[in-house]
Amino acid sequence: MQQTIVERIDRVAEDVVSLTLRGATGPLAPWEPGAHIDLALPNWLTRQYSLCGDPADRECYRIAARYEPLSRGGSEYLHRFLRRGRTLDVSLPRNHFPLAPAPRYLFLAGGIGITPILPMLRAAVAAEIPASLVYVGQTLATMPFADELRSSHGDRVRIVATRQQGRPDLADLASTLDPATVVYCCGPASMLAAAQAAFPAERLHTERFHPAVRSFAPDTPFEAVCARSAQTIQVPADESLLEALIHAGHPVASGCREGVCGSCELTVVAGEPEHRDDIGAPAGRMYACVSRALSPRLVLDL
């Protein structure tokens, strides 16, 4: 955890605020484009936000959040109740959406999905790698950072307001693309689906804000063996692995508890996890908040 102070709250578009969080005790942990942080809000909720400022600025983090009409209390808190000067705990940055080296980039952003893309585009341009951005939103007024993008990056940026222009044809975009181009897409589920249909999977990287809607086999009980503490924990069908571990006294970190943020990553020593996260767990890892077991027992490095 790092302590920050809310230095600025700026309205950057209709229903979008940007927060500038200054490190309370000195420089903040470094980060790369695509990274996000967990923000611990005063109402006990923890929410994840992509860092959209400048990675070279070690004094401050910048995030932006859209107000969600069906807010459970996260975006509503940022928009209505958070006050300047308040101290907020943030996690160390994590990156599930890193910018891999490529000869050219195409960035696709939908609405608030622009946040991780902003530092990516800046980094690509700074490295003199050919890059372009298609930034899609309902109307210009709802699209944060549109002016900033146009003034800094000019022709590299195409802004599409769907109310007037309709949705861009991604298949058309794909057909004219240099085959070496790597695509990074962050936006609503409809945009991710369109991108997945249009671009080859090996050259498309996506990030979603909400877990994908999927269905799983019914939850069944299993056994979790904590190898280091030689403890065996029964995980009942109606409890998550994360809950069972916490109740058994293992202080596993957690954030979104929806398989999106990656805070609760565990190392699996033996057994076969049933991955239910949206991150794509690397081999030998699992996310305890949503994932369960295909084998009757899992051995964990705990």
Binding site: W44, G73, R80
Partner: protein, 226 residues
């Protein structure tokens, strides 16, 4: 614990046990009450408003606990606790609140009462804050998806919520909380003077109930909050 000799317990015609003292304390008329209390200051009545303003909205957004009072058509009253993360009560608009119905004892006294008599009284508390917020109005149950979606915790969404149409809202001054030292950590020592919840429940339920098993059952229930 045995009842005091001046008390007798008898079932009412509805089967509810009520304790009466044999020498009943004197009952005052409304006029006698008013004569003893004096008239309220005009300012106190003026601060009662008919909606949730920005200050009340902020109060509700930081309140993790409320007491909810209802009564049935015959006037039988009930008050029950509701608690969750701060802001668990959603302000749908300045005249409408929604309170999630989290898993509880399934007795559903409040819902039964509201079906007969939709009047409701709420008292919101914020730890550390002496003033409380009172909201009175009328309420009904709902399963409206957009309301329940705002109450989801992890994957668990409540089955029901109560919609409250606000008629009155006002701050209540903090004297009761100051006198009660409710937020003073030293007051926590009071809880040490009680038997465990399991011991009390076992005593009430009669022989054959193991207090330790009751306590374990409660601890298990406290693990599964949603």
């Amino acid at each position: 614990m045995s009842a005091l000799p001046t008390h007798r317990r008898r079932p009412t015609p509805e089967g509810v046990f009520v304790t009466h003292t044999s020498t009943r304390p004197r009952r005052l008329s409304p006029a006698e009450v008013r004569a003893r209390l004096g008239e309220p200051e005009a300012m106190i009545e003026a601060k009662i408003i008919d909606h949730i303003d920005e200050h009340f909205r902020r109060f509700i957004a930081h309140s993790p606990f409320l007491a909810l009072a209802t009564a049935d058509a015959a006037g039988r009253a009930d008050c029950s606790p509701r608690g969750d993360y701060p802001g668990f009560v959603k302000v749908l608009d300045e005249r409408t609140l929604a309170i999630p119905d989290r898993p509880g004892n399934k007795i559903a006294d409040s819902f039964r009462n509201l079906a007969e008599n939709d009047g409701i009284g709420l008292l919101f508390l914020i730890p550390g804050m002496r003033e409380t917020l009172r909201v009175n109005g009328r309420a009904y149950p709902t399963d409206e998806p957009d309301v329940l979606a705002r109450m989801r915790i992890e994957t668990k969404q409540p089955e029901l919520a109560l919609v409250v149409d606000v008629a009155e809202a006002y701050f209540h001054c903090g004297r009761a909380l100051v006198r009660s030292r409710l937020w003073d950590p030293a007051s926590h020592a009071l809880a040490d003077e009680l038997p465990s919840a399991g011991e009390m429940a076992a005593a009430q339920l009669g022989p054959g109930i193991d207090p330790a098993a009751m306590n374990r059952g409660l601890e298990d229930a406290y693990r599964k909050l949603y």
